[in-house]
Symmetry: C2
DNA sequence: ATGAAAGCGCTAACAG
DNA sequence: CTGTTAGCGCTTTCAT
């Protein structure tokens, strides 16, 4: 920067002013400086700026599994939203090792970022414990605490609505694919809310909650969904609908159902969550809970940047509206299906 | 850090030594320092370290569209590979605005990263021009220049093999979904190679290359694939196979074909590229060109880190092997199909 | 509107 | 094995 200043016949401070626009610089001076920057192919050193300013212009985005379609959509939306605000995004993945989610918020690296958007699998408490020593954090997903900023859709109500929809289309024995009461089901963030909504929906319709129709899916991917569906089918119980906790899970389930000879939606109705791109392009277009991913990301960034400006703000929660999108996969009534009646 | 040093009764340098492990520190001293760090909840400032060392520990990963399934898979693999090497990943998206790809390599922000993995859409030259003033770059995909490090699969040969496979299964009129000779087809990186392979495969079998069976797909997404397929169908020409340039394109094409009444694979064979997760879970499991995404990412990171260590290395290219995975979508022979004979 | 000086937190070089 | 000194490149006082 000194070189640029010398070449333009000004002081380093003036170059800095030109760069940041923080102070007015007279037109001719500015042009000279810009000229010099170009000639020397100067680019400011962001580490130095970060050191001086205490801000790096980088935010972190941590998600369980980057391969999942919803994560990909979210990453895209966050990168766009960040770009619009002059920020860049550093991505992290928490599912690979159980300790990573915890590490992430505690570890040193944290301090190259100005803030963080975290989609927690289960950990909520240990994040919150350390809150004072951490950069600003926005939680995305349905978290049961009120000490950090968060963006969410009302998953519980959405799941209940999905169950109502399935029942209205003739379903009576609905599989919950993604969480079970027995097991860690209710403890986990998003999973817990969707499971609660499922149970509430059944209760309202005075249908029993059957443990044999609930199954956990450790990995919320297509393969995970297929494996979960297989587990249910191998139990040999009858069911006539599936509420999958994400669209990826739903796609895996539909594949597995078909390979056991199930017809969709004639035998089984399927509903997903998130409305990712391939939901509408599936063999049987998938009914799902849709919401605006970009609006979700924008809200997260607004919360984050406002907190970066003022850490003293009270914790805020912003709800994003959702909508049940009925497609072919829930065109009932379903005849019902079980693993037993099929040859595989 | 000075506070930690004081509390532990040592000099800042010793704290630094404990942190980096760069010099031996006696056990009791180290323990005292670690104790002090814990008590003060000390985390090193990475901007300062970056400023001092000239390295930030961050690498950039730039891809055209983060929503695409292949990008998501690649992001996952790169994050894993980076993590294993003590690096973190900053993601960028180049497709949203045409200028971004160019900006990215020229712009200021570049200088917070130690290196960059770039999946170029078309730009190869302007990257290479500025090579001296840029951080180390590894190109992924099939780029026609030999001045940067790159990782690639032999897309040309893979596309040729796919065409041979389709022909062996009885196809004669194969649609190229993703690139056309007329238009920018051959100029673009990956697209050009796949198109060339397609043409070579046809030529070998002494089949004519029909322009009406080639179509560009600006967005390599499911929706883009569907739109491209619709364009061909609206032309009303007959065809009996589709070579889609990515699996996402293939999924969109299959959806569109079905909605026009086409049966897969009875009427039309379909082959994709990349073997993303949902290829094998599609309604009709998709034949595709498969390769090890993690090996691909590992290779990219090995090239990048070795160049970060020594910028004087000659440019290297590393080829990753691929394999044609024949699934149900190319179970021939196909009867043939055209937009005309269907009611939509 | 521009300049001079100081310092953000860390580590390389050297000395002891 | 540990301490001292200096400076990475930038921006923020405070002067002019």
């Amino acid at each position: 920067m000194r070189d640029v200043a010398e070449r333009a016949g000004v002081s380093p401070k003036t170059v800095s002013n030109v760069l940041t626009g923080s102070a007015q610089v007279r037109e001719p001076t500015r042009l000279r400086v810009e000229q010099a920057m170009r000639e020397l192919d100067f680019v400011p050193n962001l580490s130095a700026r970060g050191l001086r300013n205490g801000r790096s212009g980088v935010i972190g985005l941590a998600q369980p599994d980057l391969r999942a379609a919803f994560s990909a959509s979210m990453t895209h939306a966050v990168v766009e939203a960040a770009h619009a605000r002059g920020l860049v995004v550093q991505v992290e993945e928490t599912a690979a090792e159980p300790a990573r989610e915890h590490d992430l918020v505690t570890r040193a690296r944290t301090h190259l970022i100005d803030g963080m958007i975290l989609n927690p699998v289960r950990l909520q408490d240990s994040v919150v414990e350390h809150l004072d020593h951490l950069p600003p954090i926005v939680l995305i997903g349905e978290v049961e605490q009120h000490r950090t900023d968060r963006v969410f859709i009302n998953s519980r109500s959405a799941a209940r609505e999905a169950v109502q929809h399935l029942i209205a289309r003739g379903a009576r024995r609905i599989v919950a694919l993604g969480g079970a009461e027995h097991g860690a089901g209710l403890d986990k963030a998003t999973q817990g809310q969707r499971l609660r909504g499922y149970l509430a929906g059944l209760a309202e319709a005075q249908l029993p909650a059957r443990p044999e129709l609930q199954v956990e899916v450790p990995e919320w991917t297509i393969a995970g969904g297929a494996a979960g569906m297989r587990e249910v089918l191998e139990r040999g119980v009858e069911f006539d609908a599936v509420l999958a906790f994400t669209d990826s899970i739903a796609l895996g389930a539909m594949h597995e159902l078909r390979s056991w000879g199930g017809r969709l939606p004639e035998d089984v109705l399927v509903c997903g969550f998130d409305d990712v791109e391939h939901a509408s392009f599936a063999g049987t277009p998938l009914t799902t809970i849709a919401f605006d991913h970009q609006a979700y990301a924008n809200a997260a960034l607004d919360l984050l940047t406002s907190r970066m400006r003022d850490r003293g703000l009270p914790p805020r929660a912003q709800e994003i509206p959702y909508e049940l999108l009925a497609r072919a996969s829930t065109q009932g009534p379903p005849a019902g299906f079980s693993g037993k009646n099929s040859p595989i």
